[in-house]
Point group: C2
Chain length 290, copies 2
């Protein structure tokens, strides 16, 4: 285990050098799965209060109780920013939760899903059925492959690319580099857009500045959104967005009522408000020209 967390008196604690000195802990009743894959340590816990929890290299990826926050925003914020998303690529997110949300969009014709670690998909299918149901849609094609390589090989293919990466340590590292963002841009069709996991402006202002600096240098339209996720350290996570056309800050089309009624986080007003950041973060990104 590269980053085992700490188990003390039945609590799992997410102790990680990326956020030295602060940790979220969840009481766990059972460790349901624990294996090292080719790429990372995968642990799946039954928690006392938050349902099941997926942990990669000691870092909480999701709990059943609040995963909807992240999955809905990672899917619907970019998809409703695009006037007609037909071809979508998802990199990472082996749990299937983002796919589950994308599948709600009738206008999407085909979804390429590229995950480097097949074991994460298997564990999710076995233990997280309410997320892994995302794989059940016939529009989804699964590619077990390095996301950076996959993007390079698919120029001019996608309306929307969503990068549901883990943090910039371990197998996700290349997904935080300039070259990858250049390749993402080339993989877009005209008028396309990208949305990538953008870390926290509280915990990692340096990463947010770096990622938004890259995004700004490559995309004429760029924005940074915030998502509340109570079980991530700091209680929130960001999303970097870059667009070749769509305005991003407001939905490009209405959200049908029947669609909205299925959601627990995203809405058109949430879409707009997600881009409003505490003034220190606004200043930081403006200083960066964003």
């Amino acid at each position: 285990m590269t980053n085992p967390g700490t188990l003390h008196k039945g609590w799992f604690s997410e102790i990680c050098p990326m956020w030295d000195g602060i940790a979220i802990s969840l009481k766990v009743d059972e460790l349901l799965y624990s294996q090292k894959s080719r790429f990372q340590q995968i642990d799946l816990y039954q928690t006392r209060s938050h349902g099941r929890m997926l942990v990669l290299d000691g870092i909480i990826q999701l709990t059943e109780r609040d995963e909807f926050c992240y999955q809905e925003m990672m899917a619907h914020l970019p998809l409703f920013s695009h006037p007609q998303p037909e071809n979508v690529l998802v990199i990472g997110g082996g749990d299937g939760g983002v796919l589950r949300e994308i599948n709600r969009h009738d206008n999407v014709c085909a979804i390429d899903f590229c995950e480097i670690d097949e074991e994460v998909v298997k564990v999710s299918k076995q233990f997280l059925p309410t997320l892994a149901c995302g794989f059940d849609d016939s529009r989804v094609t699964v590619h077990i492959k390095d996301g950076a390589a996959f993007v390079r090989e698919h120029p001019n293919c996608y309306d929307v690319i969503i990068v549901d990466s883990s943090d910039p340590v371990g197998p996700g590292e290349a997904l935080f580099e300039n070259q990858f963002y250049q390749d993402l841009k080339h993989a877009l069709k005209p008028g396309g857009l990208i949305a990538t996991q953008g870390e926290s402006f509280f915990l990692h202002p340096d990463w947010v500045e770096k990622l938004m600096g890259i995004t700004r240098s490559l995309f004429p339209i760029h924005a940074y959104a915030n998502i509340i996720v109570p079980t991530y350290t700091g209680g929130h996570i960001g999303m970097c967005m870059g667009s070749l056309g769509p305005k991003l800050l407001v939905p490009a089309r209405p959200v049908p009522e029947a669609f909205q009624s299925q959601l627990k986080y995203y809405s058109p007003v949430v879409h707009r408000a997600a881009f409003v950041l505490p003034s220190f973060a606004e200043k930081m990104l403006k200083g960066n020209g964003v």
Copy 2:
């Protein structure tokens, strides 16, 4: 100690029945103060990554690193909602941080500050000077007293009342009851408004529903705002607002540039966005008529 938290290998963990099964932990280098006052256990730590931390009955009240989020929003959201706040009452918040923010407002003539536990004020003055500086303004009058009683004795006195309470266990309990909200209403001048610590819609939807139900029943205008606070469990906290006149959802007057430049969280756009909640929370409050 009624709620001591758990210290394990140099970490303080906020283990509390109010959020069973989840806990924030901070690495602590030194326990600078630890005493039981007449009302509660008061602990003051030097943390590794978040400056000093005030803990009451085992519950994190603030860290120096992110206290600005809560203090700014608890002060500026209500004060900028009022067209001309002259007389202000603050109940609780013995650290002085909310006072520090109120003091930035030139139009405020007098601030009554009522805190039940004098020891919290003393500890803050000794260990948290960047917060306790809030007591240094000559417009502030300190009353060491039960807030519920103080409000009853001051009808028709205030433009804005801010209740910076701890949670509804321990000395803050009466501040979460209908009678207290009725007394708050009577303590307002015509066109006045209140803002109270409103818990988390993720962790305590029952408390949020209760408090907003009371607020709605008493105030013609009412709203619930969200504040990001990374070191509170869940990473956020809410604010209940009730108004006899001002609209709340937008600032009632401009924020001068020199004023804005001092702030790290609040801004006019943050003011508006704070009232936008994840759709499940919107539905919950709408179901409650809010």
